[in-house]
């Protein structure tokens, strides 16, 4: 039943912590979201505050300078933040996925070297898995790591890499053996600092999830030391990367739930303010049906997230549950954003209102951290496996 999280967080602490997050979100995140989104401008001012708050070390163990938050509390933080703006969470999400991989699979020296600096936010990371021709099918990546006298030489192109520009390190998935069968036996993960050979080819222009740096990254003879190989053993990269996906999925699910809740809140308010045919539109049954569906999905999403997170925190198996939560909550995010658009009528199209941003941002949650099609496959496979006749 042990899961390595700090179990000393009482409900009083949780309340205090969530109050702090609410205060920060309301006073510092909300006021800047629209402008930064519209100008595709990185929210640098939030990063310093996120360091102070300790967000970069949220799920890193206290022995490495983090807070060791249980997934259930972490998910609540992410939901609250995402109900206002999805971007700031992106700055620490993949950073924490990288840290979790180091903590789970790294050698002690790697943990000592990387985790305290990541917990403080001095090092800010991300994960570089996807390539122009490989996303869901990670075994077909082409980035290679060739051993040389100084360690490994990395070459290849990575695509859609969040935090590649404003962060200063990444975990890179590469092939150390191009001929291995099955292919994953030739894949390894490397802990990589920015520097010579690491070149952000471009910051990608995006429909939504703007303001954060998602980049095309070229690794051109990027030299790393032997100690950069995660876990010190080749051929384990894919497992190392996929092994932490439950937390990653719970995190995306929490973001979906947050977006759904944010869209619902806006819709509930607008529906009471806007009048047609002599009464607030909230009194028209067509709008009520939408609000009821949205609210139900929000509640269900939050419960699925909570249930998967609690399982993870108590050391229970939760691959199927995390998949369900990710699938359902991200779709709820899209659904609620879309329904809120309809409720806002013509104003939904105006950039004076925030709902169009939710509409643009929400779709990402269905794609990132394993597409929803993949989640459905995982859920179905698990279902059969756990119920074999």
């Amino acid at each position: 039943m042990d899961s390595g999280v700090n179990k000393n967080w009482s409900s009083g602490d949780e309340k205090l912590l969530l109050d702090t997050i609410d205060h920060w979100v309301e006073n510092e995140v909300k006021p800047i979201a629209r402008e930064h989104d519209q100008e595709d401008k990185y929210p640098e001012e939030l990063v310093e505050r996120m360091k102070e708050l300790g967000l970069f070390g949220s799920t890193i163990s206290p022995e490495y300078g983090g807070l060791g938050l249980p997934a259930s509390i972490y998910a609540k933080i992410v939901t609250r933040l995402s109900s206002v703006w999805i971007v700031p969470g992106g700055i620490f999400n993949t950073h924490l996925v990288m840290a979790a991989a180091i903590e789970r699979c790294g050698m002690e020296a790697q943990k000592q070297e990387w985790l305290p600096k990541m917990a403080s936010g001095e090092l800010r990371g991300g994960i570089a898995l996807t390539e122009p021709d490989a996303g869901t099918d990670l075994q077909s990546i082409r980035t290679r790591a060739d051993r040389n006298e100084k360690g490994y030489l990395l070459n290849g192109t990575k695509m859609w890499i969040t935090n590649a520009l404003h962060g200063n390190c990444l975990m890179v998935l590469a092939k150390t053996d191009l001929t291995a069968q099955p292919a994953h036996k030739g894949m390894s993960a490397f802990l990589c600092h920015k520097g010579a050979g690491y070149d952000v080819a471009k910051k990608l222009k995006k429909m939504g999830y703007r303001a954060i740096d998602t980049c095309e990254l070229t690794l051109d003879n990027k030299q790393v030391v032997p100690e950069a190989l995660l876990g010190g053993e080749e051929g384990r990269g894919l497992q190392q990367v996929l092994g932490g996906l439950e937390l990653g999925r719970i995190n995306v699910a929490a973001r979906g739930a947050g977006m759904a809740e944010g869209a619902l809140k806006m819709a509930v308010r607008y529906a009471q303010e806007r009048e047609t045919f002599g009464k607030p539109i909230a009194e028209h049954q067509a709008i009520q049906l939408k609000l009821a569906d949205m609210a139900t999905k929000v509640e269900a999403s939050k419960l699925l997230v909570e249930s998967a997170a609690t399982k993870l925190d108590t050391g229970q198996r939760c691959d199927m549950e995390a998949g369900m939560a990710k699938y359902f909550a991200s779709e709820a995010g899209v659904y609620c954003a879309q329904e809120a658009m309809r409720i806002f009528g013509g104003n939904s199209y105006s950039t004076e209102y925030e709902i169009e941003r939710f509409y643009r941002d929400s779709m990402l949650m269905c794609i990132g951290e394993g597409t929803n099609e993949l989640q459905q496959i995982i859920v179905a496979k698990q279902l059969i496996q756990r119920n074999k006749i």
């Binding site: 009083g12 602490d13 912590l17 702090t20 102070e52 708050l53 807070l67």
Partner: protein
């Protein structure tokens, strides 16, 4: 520099406070540190960050006030003192000041900082009475500190047309205006560290107070009833072309409130 910050836990006024039969409905109330006391704590933290020393937060009440004290520890206070009682409901400023004075009588400190008033009662009497009972100098409603030492402090108070600057010998009592500083947020690390900080609980009956202080006879004033102000009626919106709405607004102002009559 040793600073004492007495804090009061009050209902969160940002939420709707309900009144029934002359009493405040306790159900559904969310309890927070009175905002001026948060400013007082912020001031104390800034002073000790600058001049060294420690901040002790202090609160009187049931076990519930430990939440407020824990938050203060998470914000950076070094230790907490909880004066436990069964209920402090209905107490007046005089009683509170008496208990505080007794508690602080044998403590070591240079400065006592509080909010200039509490967010719920808005009375602003406790610190002044406390200074009197302890025989200490006091400056109220201050907006800035300067030149702090263990022996004296320079204090600014803002008036309509200028600033009054005074120097006070220490120990002494200061109350703060909320313009002094923006209270910090509790960091997650602060919340974690707060667990390791000392919180002492003292039974109010062990303080050696004169028995009448804690009885209703100890009251100098008594709140007999609470009433909610009348709800403000919703305004009316005039929508449409201004060539039509402006005359309509003028008409209404003339007719309904006799403006421009």
């Amino acid at each position: 520099m040793q600073i004492i910050v007495p804090i009061k836990q009050v209902p969160d006024v940002a939420l709707n406070i309900k009144v029934k039969d002359g009493e405040i409905v306790q159900e559904g109330i969310s309890w927070v540190i009175s905002s001026w006391d948060e400013t007082a704590l912020e001031a104390a933290l800034q002073l000790t960050e600058e001049a060294g020393g420690e901040v002790t937060v202090l609160s009187i009440g049931t076990a519930k006030v430990q939440e407020a004290l824990r938050k203060a520890l998470a914000l950076g206070a070094h230790q907490a003192l909880h004066i436990q009682c069964d209920s402090s409901a209905g107490w007046d400023s005089y009683q509170v000041a008496k208990v505080l004075a007794k508690t602080l009588a044998d403590q070591d400190y240079n400065l006592i900082i509080t909010g200039k008033q509490a967010q719920d009662s808005d009375a602003g009497l406790t610190p002044t009475m406390l200074a009197e009972f302890l025989g200490l100098p006091q400056v109220t409603n201050i907006t800035a500190f300067k030149d702090v030492s263990d022996a004296s402090i320079t204090l600014h108070r803002k008036g309509d047309d200028g600033i009054e600057i005074s120097k006070m010998t220490l120990p002494g009592v200061v109350t703060v205006n909320d313009s002094l500083a923006e209270p910090r947020l509790a960091s997650m690390r602060g919340i974690m560290m707060a667990k390791k900080k000392p919180m002492e609980t003292v039974d109010i009956h062990s303080l050696g107070l004169a028995p009448e202080v804690l009885q209703s006879g100890g009251l100098m004033t008594e709140v007999v009833q609470y009433e909610k102000p009348d709800e403000r009626k919703e305004g009316r919106r005039f929508e449409g072309d201004e060539t039509e709405t402006v005359p309509e607004v003028m008409q209404n102002l003339k007719k309904n409130i006799g403006l421009f009559a």
